[in-house]
């Protein structure tokens, strides 16, 4: 299997290790009775380029590698890692972490790790997909084309980043799984001034691809055009309303609603521990019957997609909510075992130096049947929110927020004027029960999402069709 060989070569062989050495470390881990053990090897290459003030201002490059060693016994986890991939160090780490096991079951063979799985992305090195000069030229062209769009533009910032990540995961059942994960991202921010008023617009995108992604379909220049459009809209924006009102969310990135309002609350760890507002609610109605929501790590080339998760489990398309009924949670191995269900390929970690936990991949709502214009026309007075910044959730109380970066008033079925950014706040377990119309225009985001949990960041995706929510609190200043 070429991918496994490629990764074994690039992580083990270059450090003078062989697969037999993995067996020795695993044998040390399994000298006590444990439920699970794994060794996670990683090698990462990363680069970034940034342009501002019309010049290539900064570039950086980094190479990191290391290995994390974990044992699990019941709900107890021992973990150590090192940036030196050397046998004596891995053996010492193994001896340290197994001290957590006082009594336990015999190590069990758990799941059959597939020996092959679909390739959702090519094992490309994006850093090498363009000559450095061509990367610079692309940045400069995007900068100059964007500056031409509006005389009110005061500053343009363009950034380009790429990561090339190889992982090798050894499980206690003797399986070895490998993945090579490219990831690219580009971002354009403009600052515009008119009559002393200064506003910003920002747009970006990316995916598990190489730099050619930005050359296809004119994407790089489209980010510039969109950033300018957003700044133009914001220059016209007036005070946002305050209070509870009907909110229509646009398609695509506004799907961050799903990520915050229900996604985190449906992660297996919180539900095993009973700390989520959704705990124990499988089979219950948590959304209107117009809503079907999935977490799908198997989409080709998407930012949140993975061939296998960080425990070696192939990713899946997991139905979270079907026609309004809660169907299940997102699981890693530990929480799946303790809850007596199957892992869903959601065991993710930021790096070898972090423990895996249940995380989202690409979370989105399936399309409905309403025409988006008809949805707007149905609203007498409300807010139409088309773009968002970040969000956050308290999984226990269920309260969540997300902040608009492009929003308009709807008056008598018409979009009238733009309003300033405002935070929307709601309650996760009931916000989707207020969804009264779902558009036929399902879209995924452009590939910019990063999710934080317990101090660990991982790339994710979101998506949704246009949605109408009958009542959400809008945090404007106009009381």
């Amino acid at each position: 299997m070429p991918l496994l060989e490629q990764v074994t070569q690039s992580i083990l062989a270059v450090n003078g290790l062989q697969t037999q050495d993995i067996d020795r470390v695993m044998a040390a881990l399994l000298s006590v009775p444990v439920d699970a053990a794994d060794i996670y090897f990683q090698s990462s290459h990363f680069e970034s380029w940034s342009m501002e003030g019309g010049i290539i201002k900064e570039g950086s490059h980094s190479i990191e590698h290391g290995a994390g060693v974990r044992v699990v016994s019941g709900d107890k986890t021992g973990f150590a890692y090192s940036d030196r991939i050397e046998l004596p160090i891995l053996l010492e780490a193994a001896n340290n972490v197994k001290a957590i096991v006082r009594q336990g079951q015999q190590a069990q063979r758990q799941i059959e790790v597939a020996k092959s799985w679909p390739q959702l992305y090519q094992p490309l090195n994006p850093l090498k997909s363009l000559e450095d000069q061509a990367k610079i030229d692309l940045l400069k062209r995007v900068d100059s084309e964007t500056r031409k769009l509006d005389s009110r533009i005061e500053e343009v910032m363009v950034s380009l980043i790429a990561a090339y990540d190889s992982v090798l995961i050894a499980n206690q059942d003797g399986s070895l799984a490998a993945d090579v994960r490219p990831l690219v991202r580009m971002n354009v921010t403009v600052i515009m001034v008119e009559n002393g008023r200064r506003e910003q617009g920002s747009m970006g995108g990316g995916g598990r691809s190489d730099y050619s992604f930005f050359l296809e379909n004119d994407r790089a220049f489209e980010y510039g055009r969109e950033a300018v459009r957003l700044a133009q809209v914001n220059l016209q924006a007036q005070e946002a309303p305050a209070g509870n009102m009907t909110v229509v969310l646009g398609p695509g990135w506004p799907g961050i609603l799903l990520h915050e309002a229900i996604g985190h609350g449906l992660e297996g760890d919180f539900n095993r521990k009973g700390t989520s507002a959704f705990s124990g609610r499988v089979g219950e109605r948590v959304a209107s019957d117009l809503c079907t929501v999935v977490d799908d790590g198997t989409l080709v080339g998407r930012r949140g997609s993975l061939n296998i998760d960080d425990e070696g489990t192939p990713t899946e398309n997991t139905v979270l909510i079907e026609k309004g009924i809660l169907k299940g949670y997102m699981q890693d191995k530990l929480n799946a075992r303790l809850m007596g269900v199957k892992p869903t390929g959601n065991g993710r970690r930021e790096s070898y130096a972090h423990l895996p936990m249940p995380r989202m991949t690409n979370t989105y709502m399936l399309p409905g049947s309403s025409d988006p214009d008809e949805i707007i026309r149905s609203v007498k007075k409300g807010l139409y929110a088309r773009n968002f910044g970040g969000g956050q959730v308290d999984i226990t109380s269920g309260k969540f927020v997300f902040s608009t970066s492009e929003a308009y008033l709807i008056e008598n079925g018409q979009i009238t004027r733009p309003v300033k950014g405002a935070t929307l706040i709601g309650n996760g377990p009931d916000v989707l029960t207020k969804v009264s119309m779902v558009g036929n225009d399902m879209a995924l985001d452009s590939g910019v999402g990063t999710c934080g949990k317990d101090g660990q960041s991982v790339p994710v995706g979101v998506g949704q069709p246009t949605l109408k929510i009958d009542g959400l609190t809008v945090g404007g200043t106009s009381v």
């Binding site: 501002e52 290539i56 201002k57 900064e58 570039g59 950086s60 490059h61 980094s62 190479i63 990191e64 590698h65 290391g66 709900d75 107890k76 986890t77 021992g78 973990f79 150590a80 890692y81 090192s82 940036d83 340290n96 001290a99 450095d132 990367k135 610079i136 500053e155 600052i191 001034v193 506003e199 910003q200 946002a240 209070g243 509870n244 521990k273 700390t275 130096a353 910044g389 970040g390 956050q392 226990t396 109380s397 269920g398 309260k399 927020v401 997300f402 902040s403 300033k420 950014g421 405002a422 935070t423 706040i425 309650n427 377990p429 609190t473 809008v474 945090g475 404007g476 200043t477 009381v479």
Partner: protein
């Protein structure tokens, strides 16, 4: 207590990098090397949950070819890797543009005095001992009241590290520091009425941590206080930011007067130097040399000497927060703030927390904020909040699922009072802050 041997080991590596940069033709270079070792344990429901051994190192180099700059980093300190890392930085510098403002700091601004700031107190504790502290802390929180229904556990963290920085102007310095923390989080109530809160203590010296009992009790009290929270109707009212929230407000101010935001013209406080941005009773100053404090440092991340100085006095902005690069862009001199501020201190007023509640009289006490709804360019502010409704200086009931909104420019100008209940757990030291009025959106 500083282990000079370990500092010297890191210095040698940094010097190698600087030498290699020169070898490869760089006209200037700077490099940093940090090593961090730690232990984190967590306990939940009376038993150990995780034991994690941390061992991180990272090395970074920035090279200059005249006015062109490139950076690279790695966690592999083998000789080959160091060479490759310098090569990668040099290769980037070749493609970077000439930037008239880029380069090393002015030599005369580099730090020359290195007082012992009492930052290094390794905690002699093993996993078993750390686990027993975490278990004790969680037990206290869980046993505090029958209404405590579940737990996210308690954790003990201890980290100790060495950091060395050098540049081709001959600066080569290093120091060791430690950081320990104890935290706890529990739940109260059930079903739709479930609430969760947490508390933590952090210090350079474990002897300065709050006890397991203090952290456990505070966690339980904070969680219980949130039960039966309700929303508020949409209104305008005075808002008191509890001290742990006030640091975020001051953080937004610091972001807006930082060089990077200013030269990019993405700040709501552009061109405000020597003008009134806060009420005249407000003083904000930096105290880099506080012994044992979390933000202390005698030099910044470029080796420039830090200085104890006023940033705001009599409500007037006296100084921006600048690095060498942003200072040159603005035609000014660096303030020794590459990498951030050092124990930024808002001079406390005369009221304790109870006094601040009396001053608030009737309004909202904010104890938690959610989301990132702060626009640094315009100052527009809109965030999710929870806390307590207060009448006549007395807490009435907990509130949640509301937002608070305003514009930072006027919010800062309309600060009514600052408490002396200073939160010392971070790099920004400030008491609770009372604002005249904000817009509240709710049910």
């Amino acid at each position: 207590m500083q282990n000079q041997e370990e500092i010297n080991r890191l210095k040698n590596v940094v010097q190698q990098l600087l030498d290699e940069a020169k070898q490869q033709g760089a006209s200037g270079a700077e490099a940093a090397f940090s090593v961090d070792n730690g232990l984190s344990v967590s306990a939940r429901l009376g038993e150990v949950e995780t034991v994690e051994y941390h061992c991180d190192q990272g090395i970074g180099v920035t090279v200059y070819f005249g006015q062109k700059k490139g950076s690279a980093s790695t966690n592999d300190i083998s000789a080959d890797s160091l060479k490759e890392t310098v090569k990668a930085a040099c290769s980037i510098a070749r493609y970077a543009s000439d930037d008239a403002y880029s380069g090393l700091p002015d030599a005369e601004l580099l730090a020359t005095e290195f007082p012992d700031l009492d930052l290094n107190h390794p905690w002699d504790i093993d996993a078993e001992q750390a686990i027993s502290i975490a278990i004790e802390c969680e037990n206290i929180a869980r046993g505090y009241d029958k209404a405590i229904s579940n737990s996210e556990g308690a954790s003990v963290n201890t980290h100790q590290g060495t950091r060395v920085f050098g540049n081709s102007l001959g600066f080569l310095q290093g120091y060791q520091s430690s950081r320990h923390s104890l935290s706890c989080s529990v739940l109260a109530g059930s079903g739709d009425a479930m609430q969760r809160d947490y508390w933590y203590s952090v210090a350079r010296n474990a002897a300065g941590l709050e006890s397991a009992r203090q952290v456990g009790e505070k966690t339980a009290q904070r969680t219980l206080a949130r039960l039966n929270a309700r929303s508020l109707s949409t209104r305008q009212c005075p808002v008191l930011f509890a001290s742990e929230m006030a640091s975020g407000l001051i953080g937004a101010l610091i972001g807006a007067i930082s060089g990077g935001s200013l030269y990019r013209k993405s700040s709501f406080l552009l061109d405000t130097l020597d003008t009134q941005i806060l009420p005249d009773f407000v003083r904000i100053h930096e105290q880099p040399f506080l012994r044992g404090a979390l933000g202390s440092a005698s030099y910044d991340s470029e080796g420039v000497a830090t200085r104890a100085r006023d940033i705001v006095s009599d409500g007037i902005l006296r100084s921006y927060i600048l690095s060498t690069y942003s200072a040159r862009k603005l035609g000014m001199q660096t303030t020794g703030n590459a990498g951030g501020v050092h124990n930024l201190t808002v001079e406390p007023g005369s009221n304790d927390f109870a006094g601040m509640l009396k001053l608030l009289d009737t309004g909202l006490l904010v104890t938690e904020l959610m989301g990132q709804g702060v626009n640094r360019v315009t100052g527009d502010y809109s965030r999710g909040a929870s806390g307590f409704w207060v009448e006549n200086g007395v807490v009435q009931y907990p509130v949640q699922e509301i937002t608070i909104a305003g514009n930072l420019k006027s919010m800062l100008r309309n600060i009514v009072a600052i408490g002396n209940d200073v939160d010392l757990r971070g790099n920004i030291r400030v008491g609770s802050i009372l604002l005249e009025q904000m817009a509240i959106a709710g049910e």
